[in-house]
Amino acid sequence: MLALLVILLSCTFFPGVIVKTKALFSGRKGPGIFQPWIDIVRLLKKGSVYSTVSSYVFQTGASVYLASVLVAALFVPFDQHTALISFPGDFVMFAYLLGLGRFFLIISALDVSSGFEGMGANREAFYSMLAEPAFFILMGSLAMFTGYTSFNEIFINLHYQDYFSIIIAIIAAFVLGNLTLVETSRLPIDDPLTHLELTMVHEVMVLDHSGIDLGLIKIANNIKFVLFSTLSANCFIPQTWSLGMQIAVYLIAQAGFAVGIGYFESFRARNKMAMNAQYILSISAISMILIFVIIILNNKI
């Protein structure tokens, strides 16, 4: 329960901090930190337009997306504070729930019979397919390292090991951080701010969604963002600290992550679309190295 609360809490400022950081780096004042949420609220109040070719798939797509992300949020623990749903192998279900949402978003994009949405759907399906192994290998290696197979136990036991767990936590956080960029369509995979349909990945997929549907998708995206960043924060926060301290550190870490993304996005150009495949593959490669390190470690060489 606590886990869900802190996740929702950091959801409130996370997207705003990124936008603010980018604005500051480009020498502008930028909107307030809560502006993304104000925009979402405005969207939720708006009416919407539906394409005449669309069907029930389009009507349900955004809701399924949000519902699946919400349910996935129930799986994520906050440090040693357990998540609401936890069972051995729960990370498999976590990933596949996100997959369910993605599936519906993709088909609702294909529902409107437009070249743009088709393009977005195709790209999303392709990149998420490439990105998935990285997450599984990472969780597999953590399972191998800690000897447990659920999020809760993995993160609790990650801290009880020797200094090696810090190294592994760093690499895990690196992989998770990169995965976040892929999953939530940030630079260098995708440019969330662009107005150019032809170069977008996620945005072009939801081009025809308007009003509440778009709002739901944006909410889900923000939550998804925080889910991944919480997972990487979990690798670090010591369990011996007091709860208040943990939450404080967690929130600072989240804000730091957001600032980091903003900084990263300010000082580089995005990838060429064809480069994305290898970018994502190299994430998988790094988690593969991690698992090999752990294999060797487990065999006490």
């Binding site: 798939v57 729930l97 369910l100």
Partner: protein, 661 residues
């Protein structure tokens, strides 16, 4: 009960004599009889603690034919009865127009074979004796052959059918050879004899012979080449049954042989695992490249067989490494995936039948926008698509979860080699899952959504309820397993008892059972979340302006269906990455540098199976090259032909004389 069974089979001959319009009803009736009898045995076997033995009352020269139904057989019998029943139900709608058009005898033969396919599959799972097993196996191949060539007036269908029959006989020969090797060593030709044989001889070679023989039926790469041809050629209900359960008979055979293994499991497990990984990955990659929906589904059968192979392979490796958790979970996952695949694959094939019925084509290049004309079918396809992609809340996820769980649990205490195997199967399972999403978003999106890819106005045939009802049946089963996965644990545990060295009630399965409960609960939570979100949305929608209009086309008002993604386009980004796995040819003269104003040209692509091209075709080419030499014997003179038997006889006599036979 055996009376019932025999009666239904005997009565099936009456099909040839009843009036045309009664044939379907009679078939359905006989099918019900068949299912009741076999189902009762299977339930007995699964619920009880003993193996059900049914003497059929038919004697051959090797003795009376006896059905021995243990829990593994019972598991498969229940599955195939269910799917066959759905298939026959579906055939009622699907064949309605054909029944009117086709000749009486063809219809009779078709229904007759349909019944006998069901019966022969039951027999296959129930025969312990080698010879009767082979007979049942042959019967299964023959009846399915007849079913495949239902549209035999087309030359390609006939060709495909013959190809199918040939390959099945290759498999048959391999299985028979396997049995003969065992018989040679133990004097007995039955599955039971494998136990003592494996205990004393090298396991690998005989296992591999059986694996190849059964693998042809199951469709493991590179033995899969008949599959993507036969499925599209057959009528949809037949493809559904064939892909759903008939290829599982291959898996059944492999499982049966596996259950007797006693040594070399490390090697055997790695072989099965690698074949499974290759089948899974290559199968799904090729599926993505297809334009024909049925071909796409056929390649997905290869992929799912690959997943089952991964489960079996990991399980065998688990047995080898004294890791009961992995062994149990892998095998349970594989078994459950057999069930799941049977359910969703037949569902998908039946929906394809509906699509064909409604539009007259299953080519995705020409489809689109069907959702507005076949809403129920589209829902069924959607359920099947989600299930086959292994995504919750449907059944596909459950079996994949079992395998995942086995792998990950194994990770926590794996040896170096096992970690490698686990890593390989983990990565390939994940990739298969992702590729499946890629493929089925494409299949569903391009077939049902958007608008029709046609310049001409098209008419749609209404889909009768009889073609929807079986889909509902299968969909319910899929949902049931997805939401209440614990229900399946007990039958699974039962079926696992066939593997003497698996502790079916092992802690692994029990703890997984609680995880399954949690999954079921999560699915329910998801439904609740979905209801909450959608009702909030509905509440909001009632209060704001909802406008409809054409899809945003940047203000251009003369856009047409060409603006939608096509199957080729959808597959092309993947194609670049997986190029080595596919033979890809593009019929397109690219526009040259100085071609400022390009001439008229066309664009067509062809993808084909790299394995088929490089392995199978090469072998066939060699045969084509060297077989004509044998053709020289065909001289055309009668007296030469008379000479051959004489030579043959002399050779036989000589061989027996020198004790070679």
């Amino acid at each position: 009960m055996s009376l019932l069974f025999n009666t239904s089979l005997l009565l099936s001959f009456a099909l040839f004599f009843v009036p045309k319009r009664m044939k379907y009803l009679v078939t359905l009736l006989l099918q019900v009889l068949l299912i009741v009898s076999t189902g009762t045995w299977a339930l007995d076997a699964l619920m009880g603690s003993e193996v059900v033995i049914v003497p059929l009352g038919i004697s051959t020269w090797s003795g009376e034919i006896i059905m021995t139904i243990d829990k593994l057989s019972a598991f498969f019998i229940l599955l195939l009865d269910f799917v066959c029943f759905a298939g026959v139900l579906y055939a009622g709608g699907y064949l309605r127009t054909s029944i009117a058009k086709k000749r009486d005898v063809i219809i009779s033969l078709h229904f007759f074979s349909l019944l006998w396919l069901n019966a022969s599959m039951v027999l296959v799972t129930a025969m312990g004796d080698g010879l009767s097993f082979l007979l049942a196996w042959e019967l299964m191949s023959l009846t399915s052959f007849i079913l495949v060539i239902f549209e035999g007036q087309k030359e390609t269908t006939l060709r495909t059918g013959i190809n199918y029959l040939l390959q099945m006989h290759l498999g048959f020969a391999l299985i028979m050879f396997g049995f003969l090797v065992v018989k040679d060593a133990t004097g007995e030709m039955s599955f039971q004899a494998l136990g003592p044989y494996f205990a004393t001889h090298s396991n690998t070679i005989v296992f591999l012979i059986f694996f190849a023989g059964f693998g042809i039926k199951a469709g493991f790469i590179p033995l899969h080449t008949w599959l993507p041809k036969a499925h599209p050629a057959a009528p949809s209900h037949v493809s559904g049954i064939m892909s759903g359960v008939m290829i599982k008979m291959g898996i059944y055979g492999i499982l049966r042989v596996t259950s007797f293994l006693s040594a070399d499991q490390e090697l055997i497990g790695s072989i099965v695992l690698s074949v499974g990984i290759v089948s899974g990955l290559v199968g799904v990659i090729l599926a993505i490249m297809q334009h024909d929906l049925k071909r796409l589904l056929a390649y997905h059968s290869v992929e799912n067989i690959g997943i089952i192979g991964i489960g079996i392979g990991m399980s065998i490796l688990g047995m080898a490494n004294q890791d009961p958790a992995l062994a149990v979970l892998g095998m349970a996952g594989a078994l459950l995936h057999c069930v799941n695949h049977a359910l969703f694959k037949s569902l998908l094939f039946f929906t394809t039948g509906n699509i064909y019925h409604a539009t007259g084509t299953v080519n995705m290049d020409e489809l689109g926008g069907l959702v507005h004309h076949a809403r129920a079918t589209s829902l069924a396809f959607l359920v099947g698509a989600i299930a086959i992609s292994g995504i919750p809340p449907f059944n596909g996820f459950i079996s994949e979860f079992l395998i995942y769980n086995g792998i990950v649990v194994n990770f926590t205490h794996a040896t170096f080699a096992m970690s490698l195997a686990g890593l390989a199967s983990l990565v390939s399972l994940v990739l298969i899952g992702g590729l499946c999403v890629y493929c089925f978003t494409k299949a569903f999106g391009l077939t049902f959504l958007g608008s029709r890819r046609s310049f001409h106005p098209v008419t749609y045939h209404r889909i009768p309820w009889i073609m929807i009802f079986p889909l509902v049946l299968l969909g319910l089963a899929i949902t049931l397993i997805g939401f209440f996965p614990r229900l399946i644990v007990e039958p699974l545990a039962g079926a696992l008892t066939a593997f003497g060295n698996l502790e079916a009630q092992s802690p692994a399965l029990l703890s997984t059972s609680s995880a399954l409960q949690a999954i079921g609960l999560t699915n329910l939570v998801f439904v609740v979340a979905m209801v909450v979100v959608s009702s909030l949305r509905a509440w909001q929608q009632a209060r704001v302006v909802r406008a409809t209009g054409p899809t945003w086309g940047c203000g251009y008002s003369a856009g047409d269906f060409r603006h939608q993604y096509t199957p080729t386009s959808y597959a092309s980004s993947l194609l670049e990455v997986v190029e080595p796995a596919v033979v890809y040819r593009k019929d397109y003269p690219s526009i040259a540098e100085a071609d400022i104003f390009p001439e008229k040209r066309s664009f067509r692509t062809h993808t084909s199976d790299r394995v088929e091209q490089s392995v199978v075709i090469t072998i066939i080419d060699l045969l084509i090259k060297y077989l004509p030499m044998a053709g020289r014997a065909q001289t055309g003179y009668i007296h030469h032909y008379l000479l051959y038997p004489v030579v043959f006889m002399i050779v036989i006599v000589l061989l027996t004389h020198f004790n070679y036979i």
